[in-house]
């Protein structure tokens, strides 16, 4: 066989029958585009989640949440007291520091003549150390201020911008439920959560103020512990559970009225969520490629029927079964490959449009097309082409030359 002529024949077929080639490749273009985008973006989302979890649940941190169900709530959400947390920390030398958190929910905030509602939370002075979030301007509260229930406030960076614009908030006075607080600093920015929540939209005051003045409760919502050595985290978490069950008088067989969360659990939760998500992504993309293969198959079968005299002629001038089969296979594969290339090329401008939207809405930065996505999509397109071509190719190859020549 003359390879040069063969290649030219296959390419010519595609360029001279552009409409049909486009129709055949459309499914592959869309499937490749979708696969490249979804695979690339799910990678970006995954790393955004991992980054978020890593920031909120550092490797040496343990979070203790009041209530039997995770994310707060459930049985016993009013049963975690500061003295419980302090007792746990005192009993376990592996714990280097701890920080309780309470929340007063959204409150009326007034600065000069501007009114708004912002969530007010309570931190201790150890928040900066345990939760790794200090201030970008001004100063954190001191232990004395927390103990003295001083009316001092730290602003999330979004809240600071909303209330004070470009002017410095430090030293200003704001009113929470008409009670004046002195703004002592602006918290370091945490950015967006992957759910699209702004983590910088809050006001932090000493937790003692939240408990005794704003909400008037004797329990906290949660506490964070920093463990001296990150490798001890799982063991310490078990010890925390044991001590708390004892302190809360929980008998064996009864559920905890608190939840201990370790970074490993959080990472596993993200991983398992993404496993499910990825399964759906794979199924949807596979369905796309399956449909594409069926389109290739159907159009190629119709094309073979139409080209029966041509195939008869090719056989008359010396084509054997293998030549015809190879030609049909190559025609379809070249169309699938072209569709694949087009899909990949189209994915770039689309990502360029989508990336800033993702960054603005969810804080997913650095959305790019991964090489992995391109490899997966290309391999799928190739398999699609071969699957779609196989039957028409064999059918064409097996045509009887005499019948084919005289077919109409």
């Amino acid at each position: 066989m003359n390879r040069e002529l063969f290649l030219r024949t296959v390419l010519r077929r595609m360029t001279r029958f552009k409409g049909r080639a486009l129709l055949m490749s459309l499914g592959v273009i869309v499937s490749v585009l979708a696969t490249v985008l979804v695979t690339s973006l799910s990678g970006t989302v995954r790393s955004a989640f991992d980054g978020f979890i890593g920031r909120l649940y550092p490797d040496d941190g343990i979070t203790l949440v009041a209530g039997s169900s995770f994310m707060g709530g459930g049985l016993g959400r009013d049963n975690l007291r500061v003295k419980d947390v302090a007792a746990v920390a005192a009993a376990l030398p592996a714990i280097a520091a701890w920080d309780p958190q309470s929340s007063a929910g959204p409150r009326d905030i007034k600065v000069e003549d501007r009114n708004t509602r912002v969530v007010v939370v309570g931190y201790s002075e150890r928040h900066a150390d345990v939760r790794r979030q200090s201030v970008s301007q001004g100063a954190f509260f001191t232990a004395d201020e927390v103990a003295a229930r001083s009316r001092v406030a730290l602003l999330g960076s979004t809240t600071a911008r909303v209330l004070f614009g470009d002017t410095s908030a430090v030293g200003a006075t704001l009113f929470i439920d008409n009670v004046p607080y002195r703004v002592q600093g602006v918290l370091e920015s945490l950015g967006m959560s992957p759910h699209g929540d702004d983590l910088d939209e809050l006001i932090a005051v000493p937790y003692t103020v939240v408990m005794d003045s704003l909400v008037k409760v004797d329990f906290v919502r949660a506490a964070s512990f920093r463990v001296a050595h990150a490798e001890d985290v799982e063991a310490v978490a078990e010890q925390i559970r044991a001590i708390l069950r004892q302190r809360h008088d929980i008998r064996s067989g009864q559920r905890d009225d608190f939840t201990v969360v370790t970074p490993r659990q959080m990472h596993e939760m993200v991983a398992s969520t993404f496993r499910t998500l990825n399964l759906f992504v794979v199924l949807i993309c596979a369905a796309g490629f399956l449909v594409s293969a069926l389109v290739l198959l159907a159009v190629m079968l119709a094309s073979i029927r139409q080209r029966t005299p041509e195939i008869g002629l090719r056989k008359a001038v010396g084509a054997d079964l293998g030549h015809i089969r190879d030609q049909v296979m190559c025609e379809v594969t070249v169309i699938a490959a072209t569709g694949c290339a087009l899909g990949i090329v189209l994915a770039y401008p689309l990502v360029a449009v989508i990336a800033p939207l993702l960054a603005a809405k969810f804080g997913f930065t650095g959305a790019t097309i991964s090489l992995n996505a391109i490899i997966i999509a290309s391999a799928s397109a190739l398999v699609t082409g071969v699957l779609g071509a196989l039957w028409p190719a064999l059918r064409a190859a097996r045509l009887n030359p005499v019948d084919a020549l005289h077919a109409r």
Binding site: R12, G312, V317, G318
Partner: protein, 225 residues
């Protein structure tokens, strides 16, 4: 060149009585002959051409081409013989659509491996007088020109045997004459030509006329040299 001994070929279509298209044909054609096969439609001449051209196999009898029996030659080798030894010309030209004249001529070269395929295809197109139409699509050519492209395609591999099935069937008088002249020219260069027709005028070009009727040879006459 060609020796046939007792060839038979029967077609059986479902629900119809079997048709004995070839009923014991024996024939020999020497290299360099120009043979016309004449017969009414349904006489089996197309079946004979398909068997001679290795597109079809006989049910029984022997076909020897260049002294070699074709009975037990495999499909791949049959394709190779069609490519190297035989050139086909059909009544309806069988040019590929949206394909230029030169590309049509190059078709058999796709299945052989000749480095000089460009020169060969240009030469074949020139031999039929269509060098200036090389980049025209089939649809842009007249019937006579299309058949000439088809002849260029048939001779591009320099076959020893040229088989033509009603090559002038779709053409009128003078154009048909030009086509017959092309076959004569090929024959003059030593190519064996077997031409199937029901046109006495065309058959007159041949030096040997074989008449077929009901799958058997009715007469075989040679022009006096």
């Amino acid at each position: 060149m060609i020796e046939l001994h007792g060839l038979t070929r029967t077609y059986q279509k479902p629900g119809e009585p079997p048709v004995r298209a070839l009923d014991g044909i024996s024939l020999s054609v020497a290299a360099g002959e120009f043979v016309a096969i004449l017969g009414p439609s349904g006489s089996g001449k197309s079946t004979l051409m398909n068997v001679l051209g290795l597109l079809d196999r006989p049910d029984s009898g022997e076909y020897r081409l260049d002294g070699r029996s074709m009975s037990d030659v495999g499909a791949r080798e049959m394709a190779e013989v069609r490519n190297r030894v035989i050139g086909f010309v059909f009544q309806s030209y069988h040019l590929l659509p949206r394909t230029t004249a030169i590309e049509n001529v190059q078709l058999p070269l796709l299945y052989s491996n000749r480095a000089d395929y460009r020169r060969r295809s240009e030469a074949a197109l020139a031999a039929v007088g269509l060098a200036d139409r090389r980049n025209h699509y089939a649809s842009e050519l007249s019937g006579g020109q299309q058949q000439r492209v088809a002849i260029a395609r048939a001779i591009v591999n320099e076959p020893a045997l040229l088989l033509a099935d009603e090559p002038t069937g779709n053409l009128d008088g003078t154009v048909a004459g030009d086509i017959v002249d092309l076959f004569k020219a090929q024959n003059a260069q030593g190519t064996t030509v077997i031409l199937i027709t029901h046109d006495e005028q065309v058959a007159r070009a041949a030096r040997r006329v074989i008449r077929i009727s009901a799958g058997a040879i009715a007469s075989d006459t040679r022009e006096a040299a």
